[in-house]
Amino acid sequence: MPDDHDISATGVSTEARRRWMGLLARASGDAIQRLAEGLDLPAFQRIRGPETGLVMLRGRAGGDGAAFNLGEMTTTRCTIRTADGQVGHAYVAGRDARQAELAAVMDALLQDPDRHGSVMDVVITPLAEAEAARHALRARRAAATRVEFLAMATMR
């Protein structure tokens, strides 16, 4: 199990980085692009990609708990390095190269102590709020279709 207090060389905890990488991966490329216009992005160099490929998804699907290859998923990955040497990685579902590249740039900036705060405020917090709103909307729609079995019992 990864340790929540595992601090990398740049002083970023694994758990915090996992959270923002996940938010960037689940957001759309357009949404990241729109929010990132509020930042002045530094010059950066592509180290690898963006390139699209397949990753095997494994899960404990069987009754005995052994790992099972559920299927392959289209993934786009990108790694960039900013001019001051910060490396950012991104793996996103689908084939949106622009999203992968922007997510990698955001990951690099978020690891930079000087820029972490502004990127969190301008990009990550709005993405987290949008995701929470999406989840809440979906939960409300689902809740509207809920059937109260107790109510049915009393209706009879």
Partner: protein, 191 residues
């Protein structure tokens, strides 16, 4: 801060072209082949050794290297290979300085000679048409090759490993962007 650099500009095509070049070099021992694909590798890796390792090394081939942390980071990222401090366990041995003795490198077993390691050795220069006289499979009569920058007792080491064929170490000599291969089947005589 990291000084990670990009790998091949076109990972698929450049790796295929490099593989073809290494294959040509291995099947025609001593013939000098140019590895055209360029990868901006960190020093002290030269262009040919960088392209060969990006092409051949992967997650299943532990690499032993004397090239330092920058090269390990770069190669580990782009090729996904593991590094080992135990030279015997390596499937690729990268020598940018003085090459380790052939006897210290994994030569495979009698049952599985293909499990041996390949020595990727950076040298100063390769010159065809003079120097060593190479004979053996892949050479019609005789091929001549002079290598600058190898250990003085390399030929003696080669005679020792030639005696334990089919066990042995294959050698890829890299100078700038040019390579020449010495598969274990080749016989080398002083010119």
């Amino acid at each position: 801060m990291s000084c990670l650099r990009p790998g091949f500009a076109s990972p698929v095509l450049d790796a295929q072209a490099s593989f073809r070049a290494v294959l040509d070099a291995m099947s025609r021992p001593g013939r000098i082949v140019t590895l055209a694909a360029h990868a901006p590798a960190p020093a002290p890796l030269n262009q040919a050794a960088a392209a060969a390792l990006l092409t051949l090394a992967d997650a299943e081939t532990p690499v032993w290297s004397d090239a330092g942390a920058d090269v390990a980071e770069w190669l580990g990222f782009h090729a996904g290979c593991a590094f080992t401090p135990q030279i015997r366990q390596a499937r690729f041995v990268l020598a940018t300085g003085a090459a380790p003795a052939l006897a210290t490198i994994n030569a495979g077993t009698e049952e599985e000679p293909q499990s041996s390691a390949t020595l990727i050795c950076q040298v100063e220069a390769l010159v065809a048409g003079e120097g060593w006289r190479l004979t053996g499979p892949g050479i019609e009569t005789e091929h001549r090759l002079r290598v600058f920058g190898l250990a003085e007792d390399f030929l003696a080491q080669w005679q020792v490993q030639r005696a334990r064929f089919p066990r042995g170490v294959d050698v890829l000599l890299c100078a700038g962007s040019r390579i020449a291969a010495l598969p274990r089947s080749v016989t080398i005589r002083e010119g």
